[in-house]
Subunit: 312 residues, 4 copies
Amino acid sequence: MSADRYAYLGPEATFTEAALLQYLDSHGLRSRASTQPMRNAAAALDSVLDGDCLAAVVPIENSIEGGVPATIDALTDHGQLQIVAEVVVPVRFVLAVKPGTDPSTLTSFGSHPHGEAQVRTFMSANFPDAVYLPTSSTAAAARDLANDAADHVAAVCPALAAERYGLEVLADDIGERQDAETRFVVVTRPGAIPAPTGSDKTTVVASLRSDRAGALLDMLEQFATRGVNMSRIESRPTGDGLGLYQFSIDLLGHVHEARMADALQGVHRVTRSLRFLGSYPSASKTTAPLDPTTTDDSFTAAADWLDSTLNG
Amino acid sequence: MSADRYAYLGPEATFTEAALLQYLDSHGLRSRASTQPMRNAAAALDSVLDGDCLAAVVPIENSIEGGVPATIDALTDHGQLQIVAEVVVPVRFVLAVKPGTDPSTLTSFGSHPHGEAQVRTFMSANFPDAVYLPTSSTAAAARDLANDAADHVAAVCPALAAERYGLEVLADDIGERQDAETRFVVVTRPGAIPAPTGSDKTTVVASLRSDRAGALLDMLEQFATRGVNMSRIESRPTGDGLGLYQFSIDLLGHVHEARMADALQGVHRVTRSLRFLGSYPSASKTTAPLDPTTTDDSFTAAADWLDSTLNG
Amino acid sequence: MSADRYAYLGPEATFTEAALLQYLDSHGLRSRASTQPMRNAAAALDSVLDGDCLAAVVPIENSIEGGVPATIDALTDHGQLQIVAEVVVPVRFVLAVKPGTDPSTLTSFGSHPHGEAQVRTFMSANFPDAVYLPTSSTAAAARDLANDAADHVAAVCPALAAERYGLEVLADDIGERQDAETRFVVVTRPGAIPAPTGSDKTTVVASLRSDRAGALLDMLEQFATRGVNMSRIESRPTGDGLGLYQFSIDLLGHVHEARMADALQGVHRVTRSLRFLGSYPSASKTTAPLDPTTTDDSFTAAADWLDSTLNG
Amino acid sequence: MSADRYAYLGPEATFTEAALLQYLDSHGLRSRASTQPMRNAAAALDSVLDGDCLAAVVPIENSIEGGVPATIDALTDHGQLQIVAEVVVPVRFVLAVKPGTDPSTLTSFGSHPHGEAQVRTFMSANFPDAVYLPTSSTAAAARDLANDAADHVAAVCPALAAERYGLEVLADDIGERQDAETRFVVVTRPGAIPAPTGSDKTTVVASLRSDRAGALLDMLEQFATRGVNMSRIESRPTGDGLGLYQFSIDLLGHVHEARMADALQGVHRVTRSLRFLGSYPSASKTTAPLDPTTTDDSFTAAADWLDSTLNG
């Protein structure tokens, strides 16, 4: 039996691959999965659209490795795909060397500039004389070191890369922002929306009407009057002219919940276009208690009231 | 064949009877109708609830003859009744005497204090020496004068009362506020809601939740996000404690229009209770054009969008 | 030395006099005060405006003895006066008889209809055969009984009236709503605004612009964006035409607090007229903690920021 | 006398230089100015901060040549600088060759990929066999062609580049989006804010509080309640964690206008931080009429009202 294929934004051994492996493990899918690094987000999504891969994992927010606007744009352009899960991965760097390397010989280290920026404090405190040599990705720093294809004698990279390429970890978690993390989404072809879990997110992309002041406020009030909160909002130019934006938005809640369904219909009315990218379990399982005016029960009671008002 | 019976807030020959006659005329119902003055709004509504009368006409807003809070309270208490029409009547006073009276003998005049307040300028300019004698209603001033049961020799009363009691009109439209008018509603037992005309009103009574600051703002935002405007809002204490109010509200639009139905469901969620008193043609036929984001079509398009999002 | 004179809405020995006495006691003013019942709210306010009395006490909200709209209208018309305090009095009825009366002879009782409505359950349970005889006020029922000027043999009245007229209390607190209470305000000529206590109210009367849908929402948003909450809002027709209202509003906070001063300026802009009736200590000393975005400090910081932005 | 130095985002002969020249011409400054291309937005701003240049011109919105997020970030980081003008330049490409080139020999053309994307329709219709060769900028395609340093025989570039490098224009305005344009800002060291013209913009950067749902709505309502409209809003991650954003916002109006000053103070209260980047004349001279509730006069009247309320 052939393996199920999963695409991810490459290269290999980055935080994105770590996110995919975390997803496969938590869903018991790893044993029958094969994973495929892709050169960019659009290519990863294409491989799903083509049927070549079952799903793709791409970064969506605040990644050290890059990627947010490209992912949002690619998802919007590949409108038929849907997000079915999110994965949050801590951004944690290690200092790795070839096994047996004497730390006192650590005269240089390689990493992607984003990685180097994160570990500057650690390196200058501990290896003040080590020269920094840039690489095309943090994983490449590890790979090239392992393959004797590098000028550097140490790599600042994800733990996954050190492990994958057989390096020895001299120091773990050496980044300055110990709470840094990246959020990834798992994208599939359209199909059943994952069932609500009580702690879900919904992602949409909305283009505002250009003919009215206050269009953004109008949209946000549609959410507010149904008690729907946002966890992320980002503007993206539509490409149609100065001052025309679309907004990529993550909402707390599931489209199968009445408040979300009602709010999205309201947003549909007041926007130029609205695209639904998916409802899926939130990586964070904590849920804020719902206000009693926005529960499914309160929506059902309101619909029943209207029905009995209209029909006696 | 017995006549159809209609109740109205008495006494006879007031602006309320004028409103009822205007309603009957405009609906071609006058020839087969009998009309019945009632001692107060509650009694008028009772006669409809009992099946004794087909409909009742009661003042609802800003009447010279009194009546607004009593009507609203009575309508709220008689919750099963519905408003099926509104009638607006200009508040126009005449100076009437027994036929043949010489104006120079006009030494006194009778009216309800509300009527007298309206004609003070006219009377002091034209009959500075005429003494004012209060009566229990403006119509009673005319009736008692006609019946030789009054001390006054002239009546300040509605044109209808002068005509009814065979008085001669010395001067017409003598009130100070020539644009004064009173709004009446026609109330029936529950039944079919009058069909939308494109220029309708909807009347509701809502009690706010007491447990939250901003409850009134919350309610108004439910209307605003669906483009539903108010033409009247009045507070009434609920009787349950200091600071607890219900609001009697007239809205522009019909409950069979999507924006109204959607807004009322939203209001139902955020209020303690909501009572629907009727959707009915507006007396004023002018309509503001609807914003394209709040037409029935935009609501249908939003529902279709959600349906296709959920079901592929 | 002549006494300081205080007016109150009469008659004597009602809850309004009780409110005045409670105010005088709590401010250590009773020993040098003389109190004066007035026939209506306007007369009480007139006596202050004339300089005849130092202050007047009038009911403002939900009183059993009546009075709210009349008070609000009188305060609005007497625009130069200001509210300097509020007093909340529990509405508590006693059953009183002439001393030595045998309860078994209690065949009738007198009270104002509002009072009778409150004690119906108690009376029918305990004195099912006692006939109810209406009086013009609850205090009058006691006074006439004491003066042998009544047909009734018992009075349902405030404790103050029983005490004042030397009656014997057979049963205390016999009303059905044991939490009923009435709110009174103490009104003086214009002068220094009472200093903020941290738990204050501000009363205003605002007339909405008639030329715009959403005028009420506009006004409430001015309060909401400064974190100012309302404890009471009541509509009153302006008398200028159908659909034109002014709103009498109690706000939590003091005009010397930045958020209130800023909100009132915003309301001034968006309304047709705005009248300030006073800032005064709240009868309830409980205060909700202020949101950090609406403290005086946050307003000062914002003004400082703007100043440094404009002036370097 | 040495010339006044102006920096711009290079290279030479791009739309950014065109914007700078347009600015200098319209202000009568060109004759005494020297212009200096800089390698990126940060370097251009540095040259102003250092005192090396009087002002810098950088693209801020929707440029074909790139630049928006980088400019916003650089402006935010160089917080002491201020925007004093905006310049809007149409994005218009020409097809240019060395003088005397026979169009039938046009077998290849060079341009930046963004430029090539804009002219694909024109080129495939008119020169279907011409091969596209990428260059580092549209201006470089012209420069290298003029210097015999290119493999291509034609350049797709701004008219300014063709003119600067002595090329012959074969076809003008060959882009697909004939309404494409880029907005640039002129940035100086802090100093006097340009006087209001009646048609101005104000640019700010605000970071939202992370501790509350609805923080964006709260901010927008501060603008809405003062009638301040936005012409651009863009989110930028703060770098402090997932879901933490700052917003770069262009507002219609000037900080010397009361509604803007009041709104910005409100925004200061409800945000984590607020940075003012400048008030300056709008490139578009059309102005929407102000609502009477948001004019300077209405703010002055409100302040006067409050003053007389507090001080008698």
